[in-house]
Subunit: 166 residues, 3 copies
Amino acid sequence: MTSRTTVSEHTGPVPPADPGLYAEIQQFYARQVQLLGTEDIDSWSRTFAEDAVFEQETEPGRTFARGAPSHRRGRAAIAAAARGAVQQRREQKTVRRYLIGMLDVAPQDDGSVRTEYCAVLIQTGRGEPPVVHLSTTGRDLLVRERDAWQVRHRINSHDNKETQRG
Amino acid sequence: MTSRTTVSEHTGPVPPADPGLYAEIQQFYARQVQLLGTEDIDSWSRTFAEDAVFEQETEPGRTFARGAPSHRRGRAAIAAAARGAVQQRREQKTVRRYLIGMLDVAPQDDGSVRTEYCAVLIQTGRGEPPVVHLSTTGRDLLVRERDAWQVRHRINSHDNKETQRG
Amino acid sequence: MTSRTTVSEHTGPVPPADPGLYAEIQQFYARQVQLLGTEDIDSWSRTFAEDAVFEQETEPGRTFARGAPSHRRGRAAIAAAARGAVQQRREQKTVRRYLIGMLDVAPQDDGSVRTEYCAVLIQTGRGEPPVVHLSTTGRDLLVRERDAWQVRHRINSHDNKETQRG
């Protein structure tokens, strides 16, 4: 129980992030989802690296709003998919919230950070009760760019996909 | 990206709260909602300043349990609205939980703190499955009174209102 | 408001945990629920003390998957109940997530820690929308064993039980 496992295994003896880093990453996610909530996709997309990859692990063949693919490479493609989703929700007069919790932060030797978390999407139409739209698990690689964190790789694994795990 | 914007804009370059303050505010909210959960409205109301304002941004004309208005001025009015809601849930034999997440904390020059967060209300009747009752966004101004934080101004914006945003 | 009440009362003047401890405990829970999510019950059960007690406060007479009792004494019994629940969800092709929030951490004089939190269980079947399965309040006594935290006593109080409170 005392030997250090690789961070990718992520279970057990990896020491927790120090409190300063942990609070910083918590606030990174808070602000990132708020930018999505206010539909400021320009600012939101700058929380991803230029060459970031965003993968949705979901049912095979599924496409997203405006035909966005489940695998998005580069900030422009990531922003385009988000704009499509925002546009769709506007037409549906629906608000979507992203609740990220159970955040684990594992600092890497090269200064980057790996995170793992649950993300639950809650949607509300005008005058309607909220519905839990989707439950997912996220795994991010974050890098520091100048004085801000950016997502370099995100895997968003949908709980309802055919091959469930983790 | 490096110039400091006003905190009210709340997007991007505002530096995150230091970890000590962030943990303190997280625990403030944890305890505040627990007081509501245990229906200790006397203690809960003392987490608001004497002259606090609590605004519910919701459908126009909506009133709350026991006729409470959406705009409540002063601790006594805030407590009265909470007592009405607690009484109503007792009659309905329903438990309500407030889950606050995605907390952003922006310290102000005068020592106060502005926060922004998601709050999801989950209700459970006896022997019933839980329902997501409401999804909201909260924006608070917190002030330190002696050794404790207090809410001086809270805007609780309901996701299901007619003019949705942010 | 300035005298220190006993921690078990847990309301008001108990000072918040210092940020280092608070971040540590947040990450303890993040990793603990991830172990459950990956169905690694061996590792998960080692986050409980050998002689831990896990109590479900629920409707009288209710049993759990594979006949597990609501009161489980010792790590082996705790692990057995979790294995039964995991097995049942595999058969039902369902993923369960535990979202813990509103965490309050109260350090005790003997180095142990008392916590209080909300835990919401969200379940998703293959190709299905998620459902909120259960809303609960947790109260843990955590002890440090070598360099890791362990649960020594957990009370998990279900919001839908007959005698609701807090």
